[in-house]
Symmetry: C2
Subunit: 248 residues, 2 copies
Amino acid sequence: MATGRTHRPATRSRGIPEATVARLPLYLRALTALSERSVPTVSSEELAAAAGVNSAKLRKDFSYLGSYGTRGVGYDVEYLVYQISRELGLTQDWPVVIVGIGNLGAALANYGGFASRGFRIAALIDADPAQTGKQVAGLPLRHSDELEAIVAANQVSIGVIATPAGAAQEVCDRLVAAGVTSILNFAPTVLSVPDGVDVRKVDLSIELQILAFHEQRKAGEEQPASAARPARGQRPGTDGDVPAVMPA
Amino acid sequence: MATGRTHRPATRSRGIPEATVARLPLYLRALTALSERSVPTVSSEELAAAAGVNSAKLRKDFSYLGSYGTRGVGYDVEYLVYQISRELGLTQDWPVVIVGIGNLGAALANYGGFASRGFRIAALIDADPAQTGKQVAGLPLRHSDELEAIVAANQVSIGVIATPAGAAQEVCDRLVAAGVTSILNFAPTVLSVPDGVDVRKVDLSIELQILAFHEQRKAGEEQPASAARPARGQRPGTDGDVPAVMPA
DNA sequence: CCATCTTTGTGCACACGTTCACAAAGACAT
DNA sequence: ATGTCTTTGTGAACGTGTGCACAAAGATGG
Ligand SMILES: NC(=O)c1ccc[n+]([C@@H]2O[C@H](COP(=O)([O-])OP(=O)(O)OC[C@H]3O[C@@H](n4cnc5c(N)ncnc54)[C@H](O)[C@@H]3O)[C@@H](O)[C@H]2O)c1
Ligand SMILES: NC(=O)c1ccc[n+]([C@@H]2O[C@H](COP(=O)([O-])OP(=O)(O)OC[C@H]3O[C@@H](n4cnc5c(N)ncnc54)[C@H](O)[C@@H]3O)[C@@H](O)[C@H]2O)c1
């Protein structure tokens, strides 16, 4: 997951809980799959299984949207797809710019699941003049100088940053100044933005470190009896590795 | 964020809260930057600012690791780097395999922040025989047939999946059968894994949808002056209220 | 050795998220 | 109509995470 809400304090007003919002896309994906198989209705139990969550949670999540199910039957697939799409704002088109078209930026530009929901790539922007004009994913690379003009002309409100970390804050500032109010950041930096701008981040390295933590824990827990695998982990049981020094 | 913990129920034993674990890499990154600038000590206030969190939260997080600060002074940078690294299991080397070396897989393989922490790419694996042997990021692509052998030979416990969604579950099953117990999944699918295996996921599309939700909310809130009816958070312009049909 | 000042570590209260468990809504058959 | 059966929607209990606010630890200076 990603991230930092620099937005409003709470959501108790017309509020769908943040945790619920984060799961709606998951439900939507599962429902879309059912829809493609022409399944007419689905129970909370089935859908929950498909989305990898527990059914009580799913029902509570849906209850924040309204009462869209039918007791004894379940949920109408098409109807739910529509309701969730509307709630997420996917019934409209969101123009998006991607800044920093290197290895990662190009992969993102080629990502199908991008356009499949209402997201449209308005432009691919890179600072390297040598790249300008080159085509990536069928779109021409535009130079950073044009950033402000592109954002304004297309009314872009969502920006994706895939530049090196060092350039991320500057790019962010320019995007925000030009009118972008939501940013998805792939660079490993903390971005600071004014109130009213949302930032979410994706960081491979952080995800791996979290996995490593649990991995180490698993290794350290290994049944002392059957030394299954001499995992590279720390020694088990004993937590007492008193480490190095505590300098002055 | 991302994820499904299919691991243990809770962590009440030697437990560092999950939310804290997820922030440790962030602190570590900030500390590493300070370390490179030879800053000897840092206060919770300063470090919190650098990591983008609130200082009380940071102090509480650190308190789960032990009492590593000095009142009136702050935290010793080098010492904290060591303690957090140890806690996250980064003092050891973690061999990782990436499966599915297309646009995204190649970008991940080239990612510097990979090796910079203790993660080492043990192998890049792809199913396409035409690609086998080609070099990506200085490593030769290996064919999927070798997956099991590679995992076993390198004692790989962390796998990254960057294949198309359709292949993800099968790849996951093979990784798990071969001994992998932590998976980072970039394919837009829910993976099912046995107990004891951790899965984290990264999904661009989901992140964008979450941003779109808040974006829509912001637009719908625009000082509507008078005719404001706080009905179903619709955007300003098109007031296409009242949805379609509710089928039988 | 004492006073003062800074900054940690944490008790506490509250907000948020999850799960259980069940009343009641509706479908459907008779 | 009435009864049975399925499955929703949600109250209530519990667990986890956040942030305030402050006592106490230690540095530093006289
Ligand atoms: N989140 C993740 O999982 C993940 C994975 C891999 C890489 N990354 C990060 O993504 C970023 C990009 O990685 P990459 O491998 O594609 O790097 P890259 O070097 O291949 O690409 C960076 C691109 O950004 C462009 N650029 C540089 N400064 C710019 C500016 N000011 N304005 C516009 N464009 C600019 C460069 O011309 C280049 O094309 C890096 O920060 C990297 O650390 C993140
Ligand atoms: N999470 C994100 O933000 C994000 C972004 C872009 C793409 N994606 C996803 O990542 C995945 C890869 O995207 P991509 O653009 O690199 O696609 P791609 O088609 O360029 O690459 C897929 C690669 O996987 C290989 N492959 C297919 N089946 C395989 C198997 N069974 N075993 C091993 N390798 C196999 C293919 O040969 C190909 O090289 C897709 O699922 C895509 O939806 C995710």
